[in-house]
């Protein structure tokens, strides 16, 4: 041990270092608690649907100041601010529950206009472009249309009727001679307004529900090619393979000029099929 390390340091310096260390340690503990709480609290429940134009959830929580101006300007009282410990969304952030009050898709989108921070993206000017969520016919056993009845309510109330929801005619296997008009949602038109969920006639839970897109939609399989969507063949040019049928050769004995192969085929190989 060197002589200098046993020298008493200045008390002021020592106090400063102690205070700084205590403050830093205290802040680290408090900061970790807060960070943990933030991570925990920002898990958005699947039934809480954000307003039109809401940024992706991670960006939304950086942008939303929880002022509630979107709630105030919503003419249908659709939007509410989450209450601590009651609603699952981060406290004070706006959301709606489609089964209670769905979005009426106002053409002037007052909630987005009211947002002072851009947590609701001001780029959204056509409500048909909004993607609050995606409707999913989640219970295909109790949906009346799926049972072969003609309820059609979700289809009828859809603000983007015949585009966001279509009725696809199928054969009714149960009766054998009726049709099933199956409601089918199309993600390229569904805004996630929730009017279908609200109006589903089933008691209690709806058969068709609006879910956040992150829950409702899978990622496209990039490693499969959809030949009907994209006209990009695997090879650049058409490969002209040699034509073999219906010409003469060892694989077409029936054609005029067909001949037996020079090599020995396994027993029965040449007579397989028609003759037996």
């Amino acid at each position: 041990m060197s002589a200098t390390s046993t020298q008493p340091k200045s008390p002021a310096r020592r106090r400063f270092l102690q205070d700084a260390a205590r403050g830093t340690a205290g802040c680290a503990v408090a900061g970790m608690s807060l960070a943990w709480f933030v991570q925990d609290a920002r898990a958005l429940p699947d039934r809480a649907i954000r307003p039109p134009g809401a940024l992706p959830e991670d960006d939304f929580l950086a942008a939303c100041i929880r002022c509630g101006l979107c709630v105030r300007d919503c003419p249908y009282d659709t939007l509410v601010l989450a209450e601590l410990g009651i609603d699952g969304a981060a406290t004070g952030t706006p959301f709606f529950t489609a089964r209670d009050v769905p979005c009426e898709m106002c053409e002037d989108i007052p909630c987005v206009v009211a947002c002072p921070t851009g947590a609701l993206d001001h780029e959204l000017t056509d409500i048909d472009d909004s993607r609050m969520g995606l409707a999913v016919l989640i219970d295909q056993e109790n949906c009346l249309n799926a049972l072969g009845l003609r309820c059609d309510v979700c289809y009828r109330v859809c603000p983007v009727i015949d585009e966001a929801i279509t009725l696809e005619r199928r054969h009714n296997e149960r009766s054998g001679h009726h049709a099933i008009f199956m409601p089918v949602v199309h993600s390229d038109h569904c805004t996630g307004c929730g009017k279908c969920e609200k109006s589903c006639v089933l008691p209690g839970e709806a058969a068709i529900k609006v879910l956040p897109i992150r829950v409702a939609q899978a990622d496209q399989a990039e490693h499969y090619k959809r030949s009907w969507d994209e006209n990009t063949p695997l090879v650049d040019e058409i490969i002209d393979l040699p034509d073999r049928l219906p010409g003469t050769g060892t694989d077409n004995l029936a054609a005029p000029g067909g001949f037996e192969p020079t090599f020995k085929l396994p027993q029965g190989a040449t007579t397989g099929g028609v003759g037996q």
Binding site: D19, G23, T24, G26, C27, A30, G31, L34, A35, F37, V38, Q39, A41, R42, D58, D59, L61, A62, A63, C64, I65, R66, C67, G68, L69, V71, R72, D73, V80, L81, A82, E83, L84, G85, I86, D87, A90, T91, G92, A114, C115, P116, T117, G118, A119, H122
Partner: protein, 306 residues
């Protein structure tokens, strides 16, 4: 320390100045707090939508946007550049508090202030021990911590727990279990740490204090020569450390209370029976002689007793 120290806090002021002057700024402050709260409540309760929103962000008469600058700052460090409306609102609020004193927000507007004032009043009545007293700088560590967590999590971090906005938003939009946080702050101040929350820990207060560090509106111990050491101002002041340099200063020292911790609550003006304190501006250079002391009989060290 004088014989008056033993009297109940504010007793001489009521006797000498009357009830109104002895409680003037306290009453005005409660009126101000009620006024700002009721502005926001007019809409949801009576359908008069002069002011929409809450203290985090609001729109008055559909023209004037106001935004909390501290929340905007967290939003920016979290990675979101707000729209112009929010930025203008934050600039207006920031400019006003930079002029009249940042912590004027704390004592004249903040809805948590009546809660911690009530805790402090009860604390004095029950004569409880002062408990844990974090260092004065702790709130700046808290401020740094909140901004750090905002950066790390990419969120407006303090708004997940902020008792101020929880209470204010709760009263206007529906409270949920946010009242638990308010009771928590009350009990913390009452039992664990006297004047613990607002002065020592709250990062919002720390931010506004820094914002108003050079503000114009100040309290001055202009008549400090008349001080009779009754200690009532120290008893009622939520940031009692700010009084000493002004009140106990020598002739050459400024009588202005220049600490950013001072909330301009004016309570010291109320309780002083000899009218030592006045509101003035920071450039007020009216000469204010210190108390005349006999060199052979120096003033007792009252600062420590406080």
């Amino acid at each position: 320390m004088s014989d008056k120290t033993a009297l109940p806090v504010g007793a001489e002021a009521i006797r000498d100045k009357g009830y109104w002057l002895a409680y003037r700024f306290l009453i005005l402050r409660r009126l101000s707090q009620s006024f700002f709260l009721s502005l926001f409540l007019l809409g949801p309760w009576f359908g008069i939508w002069w002011v929409k929103g809450n203290l985090s962000g609001s729109l008055t008469f559909n023209v004037l946007p106001l935004t909390d600058p501290f929340i905007s700052l967290q939003s920016i460090v979290a990675g979101h550049w707000p729209e112009m409306t929010a930025l203008i609102g934050a600039l207006i609020v920031g400019a006003v508090y930079a002029l009249i004193g940042g912590r004027v927000y704390c004592s004249w507007v903040c809805p948590i202030n009546p809660v911690t004032d009530a805790a402090s009043w009860l604390h004095r009545k029950l004569d409880l021990p002062k408990g844990w007293q974090p260092k004065r700088g702790t709130k700046y560590f808290m401020l740094a911590m909140v901004l750090g967590v905002s950066v790390l999590t990419g969120t407006v971090a303090w708004e997940f727990v902020n008792p101020i906005s929880m209470l204010h938003r709760g009263l206007i939009f529906g409270v949920g279990f946010a009242w638990a946080l308010v009771i928590g702050v009350f009990l913390f101040d009452l039992v664990l740490a006297r004047r613990g929350w607002c002065g020592h820990l709250c990062p919002v207060g720390a931010f506004y204090g820094l914002l108003g560090g050079k503000s114009l509106l100040r309290v001055s111990a202009l008549e400090r020569a008349a001080c009779d050491d009754c200690m009532d101002c120290f008893a009622v002041c939520p940031e009692m450390q700010v009084i000493t340099p002004a009140l106990r200063g020598k002739d050459a020292d400024s009588p202005l209370i220049l600490s950013p911790d001072c909330t301009n609550c004016g309570r010291c003006i109320d309780v002083c029976s000899v009218n030592v304190f006045h509101f003035t501006h920071r450039f007020d250079e009216t000469p204010a002689p210190g108390r005349v002391r006999d060199r052979t009989n120096p003033a007792p060290k009252v600062g420590k007793a406080a």
